[in-house]
Symmetry: C2
Subunit: 239 residues, 2 copies
DNA sequence: CGCGGTGTTGAGACCTGTCAAGACGTGTGG
DNA sequence: CCACACGTCTTGACAGGTCTCAACACCGCG
């Protein structure tokens, strides 16, 4: 059930059998949400976090006037709002992008983990720091890359993240976002997303049809994006 | 010495005398760096973190072609690269913006803290999650706010963060960045920073002269920025 | 069959970038 | 004390990337 999550964690550090049991014991109820539902509102008090088993979610921030910015995409295996454990409340909404299956983890169990399993605590601390590293890369994208490179970069990031949890096939993966939502990630309007997508297509870099993204030339795509996966911390280290 | 850091922490949670002693025991050597020096390079192996005592630093990310994006500003009291403790290596450089005084904290002491002080561990975990929240707000700024609001927002954020550690006087504070560096925070060129600054000045919102920023009308500035301090987690809670 | 959401296209406006030149200020050396 | 260099700030003209608005095409679904 939480196999994808374990894949994600084990890509970054060794987890003993004992620790794996502890991780499995964190998980409580499994629940499902339909697509496009706001699961957590910002400033809401939290007493549990969500481990994403299936589907896509995102962290969404709003401005008056209906402008929206997605701060991160979450894919299966992600501990969507683990940061809520110490923050107690979020500064953003959590929204489903597709139908989702989620395992709930009560904060009291996480708290118990911090009392008894220092190494696991460091591993989960690491995971939230990894999210922050992704935020920084998005900051760089939004600040300095133009539309084409920004979009190429996102496609590379998602490719690597999905590959870790076994959700790519050759160079392709399911990519359920609409062009409007893609624009909300990239700080672009849907009109410009459309044109940028056409340009990527014209250059034979990617193809996006029927909610499936196919990378035609990964090396060129990375090069257009100036993509360097070091911010995803793919090495196994003692955390 | 670490009083500003304690002010920052105590604004978010209660710290017992015992815990305060432990925090003070984390600190090793105190070192100084001149302005504009790269203190940590990305991907460099780390075995200590830095607590900023005096001066300003930043997290800097580079693109080929010399484009640079500052991902976060660090002010006195900040644990500049605490995330390096679990990440082991950073995805960005750490650069001084002014002359700086820094307390070094060996990672082995942090590791020891995670073994013996679960509550302090959660507090420091919280601090890195706070950084991530700041990253998210910058993502929102870069993605959706235009130059004027973006700059106004930064000035509000820094005001609140400096006030916590006692570095504001009425509505003003030392702001040592050049317009080029301000642009590197805001994803703008220095030319446009200059014009945007003039516009803020023309609207009687702020004044920036001789490296000192004076907020003339905080309420209007907040309103231009759509600034809501909830992402800075100013409430004291049990972490 | 009609409808709502999604994707596509075009024209023009606007925000921000680029390039280039000059002003200002401060520290250094003669 | 002056001359100069260098970094920083300022200004103008123009270019270019992205947005806005509007219309239309497409498609799955009730």
């Amino acid at each position: 059930m939480i196999e994808k999550h374990l894949l994600k964690v084990r890509a970054r550090d060794d987890i003993s059998g004992d620790e794996e049991r502890e991780i499995r014991a964190l998980v409580g109820q499994v629940v499902e949400f339909p697509a496009r539902q706001t699961v957590i509102r910002s400033e809401q008090q939290l007493n549990q976090s969500m481990l994403l088993l299936d589907g896509w979610m995102c962290r969404m921030k709003d401005l008056h006037g209906g402008q929206r910015q997605i701060a991160e995409l979450n894919v299966p295996g992600d501990f969507v709002d683990l940061h809520g454990f110490t923050l107690k409340t979020l500064d953003h909404d959590v929204v489903t992008m597709t139908d989702c299956r989620v395992a709930l983890v009560p904060h009291e169990r996480l708290r118990d983990m911090t009392e008894r399993y220092p190494h696991l605590t460091r591993v989960y601390w690491f995971l939230t720091n990894l999210d922050a590293a992704i935020h920084r890369e998005w900051t760089l994208s939004l600040g300095r890359r133009r539309a084409l490179a920004r979009m190429a970069h996102l496609f590379c990031e998602i490719f690597v993240r999905l590959r870790i949890v076994g959700l790519t096939r050759d160079g392709s993966y399911d990519f359920p976002l609409t062009q409007v939502e893609l624009g909300e990630c990239l700080g672009l309007t849907s009109v410009h997303v459309n044109r940028t997508l056409q340009e990527l297509r014209r250059r034979d870099l990617v193809e996006l049809r029927a909610r499936r993204l196919k990378i035609l030339n990964l090396e060129s795509l990375k090069s257009v994006a100036e993509f360097d996966d070091c911010y995803l911390y793919l090495e196994k280290k003692q955390r």
